[in-house]
Subunit: 448 residues, 2 copies
């Protein structure tokens, strides 16, 4: 059912320019609709490489493209910088925090996810997660300043705490962070300090389940763990974190007594929660959410009773429908978000044309996770068959896959070659830390 | 007079790793001294290109090198991250804010300069200057967010205020900023907005003296002004700023009534003041400072009565001594700081060897300032003679001179070629803006 508007073009509002929102907007490029794409930052972030910014291997602009630059040639797309305060399904309007209201005929909600601290939100100040560029800068600052503090520290126990890094959560983000911090300590920094040996830093990866990379096949998980250990990371599986404060983490292993790790740099990679917009939208429409706050959607990614509202990406609890098979949950990964974005856009166009919508089908091409500069695990499921491999060639595959996607993303080969060559030569060129005074003032405030 | 220490090596402490401190530390590389180089950031900043970070043309890591990476091969140099709270000439110690004390036999104070608001320090919140990376990020945020706000603004007067940019101060920094903001508006952004035409932005450059680039020959000043005007900048000379607030600037021209300009983006490039360490050091030693807070030094760059303390760079009011000529003041430019650093280091070694020190002689190779992507003014004084030129070839010269110095600085040609080619093609790839929520919360706080 088409909705008429001024100049008769249906208005599509897309909330969020992550992978889902970006692909939805792109898919509507030549369609007879007016698209408004609103995001609370001015850039689209290539999140798989965010940990590289956090570990000083890449500069922020290398992985963040200005949104309105990406859409400059799509005349029917208007990009706005703003934060959504509420969605009003009755009035068919999106409310922004600055008071602006965006009316819509079709809405795509792609607001993504944020960190979940399992109810212990106060831990956020002590253990930053890694979802935005501000997160990456904060983690980078803490990693590099930990070594700087150690260099000046005369007390051996305090120095050891400075040189102890804890990563909480053994999914791809945690594995990548832990492996890269170990490399910073052992490859990048040795020789640059006079009072400490950075290679003596301890990196611990704490995971509650029995293995890291739980979403991957078991043999790849084990290989990843071995590669981490070869880098010097101490992997503690079957271990839950029960307490986090400014200088330590308390860990409860499955069997054995709880113990405390003194650390000045704790990174949270253990849980995601959907954007609060999911809860607000569910309350306003009667839709249901799962425990992580993701909105349960129909097979065509719309809300029950609201076919004009689609929810995609990390905000959606969606299912993949293959004829003749049981529906399977869609994982919260970038390729899924992109496919959902394209599917939601296609369904909007079908609705406008009066055609029936199609259920979403997720094509899982596999998973990659990198551990360090020479190691990764790759699990591919292509039409040709299934490929699983790890180690050096897996790392090369991972590297070129990311370059490929980033080129399509940024079209600037030279930045990627620069990064890849720096990565190869064990150097890190994005070690700038700013805002040190504010952080130290906060730390002093936190300690008093 | 050599001072004996543990292991008998004299201890040299260098405060600040700008151009002066960097060159002093480098010059002591193979000397029989122990050098401690302390800076309050972890990076050495190539300040001449800081305005490129502020105008989204370069990422921060391209112009900021990690200090301890630069000195990793100099075994006698220890790099520390810290902020100096006070210098104690009696005890020959440098006090850091975290409580650490650094004893010295020779001290080089190269703490540089900061902004001067001519006594109106409250203007700093409304009109950021450009001295550090945090400054550059703040200015970049304000420039880009001004266009974003204009896109959403329905009130025409408020929209015009968003699209009005004011640069205060017509020295090289102000000229470079004004020209680049005009290019952002006219080259980079057109086509990316749907409700505004960025090319209609107004850029005003306010200068109190009769011409911009006062330190350059008059004909080059006039050419620079014409080039700015060709870019669309409105140059207002003989105009003083009498008031700055969150949304406007009040200007008093030499003749005529004062007027107010409504603007959301005001950049301060009008005055520098020496670091407060200059005043503290002068009080502790009886040395004198000039009106800008710079410390008056002896011909060999040391303090009167304290031959073990040298003050260099923007913190020093130094003179250049050429035999048979009148001493001339040394300008506050990067090449002068570098030469002073090397001279101070050489004099320290002479003192250790019991030899007399030499007066400082500044070799002025000339001045460059760029106005935009195709224009610059170059004033060179080489042994071959004096060259003055402007326009396109001046810009090419400026570009290659900076690439040359940055290569020596970073040794990474590819970043510079990347930037130069992006600059050529009128694109800007460092447009990432973060911390938007904090800024908007502050703005709301400032308005209430």
């Amino acid at each position: 059912m088409a909705a008429s508007t001024n100049n008769n073009k249906p208005r599509v509002v897309i909330i969020g320019c992550g992978f889902g929102g970006l692909e939805a907007a792109r898919a509507l490029a030549r369609a007879p609709v007016d698209v408004t794409l609103v995001d609370r930052t001015n850039h689209h972030l290539f999140q798989p490489l965010l940990y590289q910014v956090a570990t000083a291997g890449l500069s922020a602009p290398a992985i963040a493209a200005p949104i309105r630059h990406l859409f400059r040639k799509q005349a029917n797309v208007t990009c706005l910088l703003g934060e959504v305060s509420a969605i009003d399904p009755g009035a068919r309007q999106v409310q922004l925090k600055d008071g602006m209201a965006l009316p819509y005929d079709h809405l795509v909600v792609a607001a993504g996810a944020t960190h979940s601290y399992f109810g212990r939100d106060e831990w956020a100040a002590f253990a930053p997660g890694l979802k935005t560029l501000d997160d990456a800068f904060e983690i980078r600052r803490r990693i590099l300043l930990a070594f700087e503090s150690a260099e000046k520290e005369s007390d051996p126990r305090a120095r050891e705490a400075c040189l102890t890094f804890v990563v909480i959560g053994g999914g791809p983000t945690g594995v990548e962070m832990a492996g890269t911090v170990a490399e910073i300590a052992c490859d990048t920094l040795p020789g640059e300090f006079r009072h400490i040996d950075p290679a003596k830093a301890q990196v611990l990866l704490i995971e509650g389940s029995p293995r890291v990379l739980l979403a991957m096949p078991e043999d790849l998980s084990l290989r990843a763990q071995r590669q981490l250990e070869r880098l010097g990371v101490q992997v503690r599986v079957n271990s839950r974190v029960t307490s986090v404060d400014a200088g330590s983490v308390e860990v409860q292993p499955e069997s054995g007594a709880a113990y405390r790790i003194a650390s000045r740099c704790i990174v949270w990679a253990a849980g995601v929660a959907a954007s609060p917009l999911g809860r607000q939208l569910a309350d306003a429409t009667g839709a249901r959410t799962d425990r992580a706050g993701r909105v349960l959607v129909e097979p065509d990614l719309t809300l029950p009773g609201h076919p004009e509202i689609s929810v995609i990406g990390d905000l959606a609890a969606a299912q993949s429908h293959v004829p003749g098979k049981e529906p399977r949950p869609v994982p919260g990964v970038s390729p899924a978000a992109k496919q959902m974005g394209r599917a939601a856009a296609a369904n909007i166009l079908r609705r406008i044309a009066g055609q029936p919508t199609r259920p979403f089908r997720y094509r899982d091409y596999g998973n990659l996770a990198t551990i360090g500069r020479n190691a990764a695990v790759v699990d591919l499921a292509w039409r040709l068959g299934r490929f699983k491999f790890s180690g050096y060639f897996a790392w090369l595959f991972w590297l070129f896959a990311h370059i490929y996607f980033l080129i399509g993303f940024r079209n600037r080969l030279v930045v990627l070659i620069d990064w890849a060559s720096a990565y190869w030569s064990r150097q890190r060129y994005a070690r700038v830390v700013t805002g040190i005074e504010q952080q130290q003032a906060k730390a002093r405030g936190a300690q008093t």
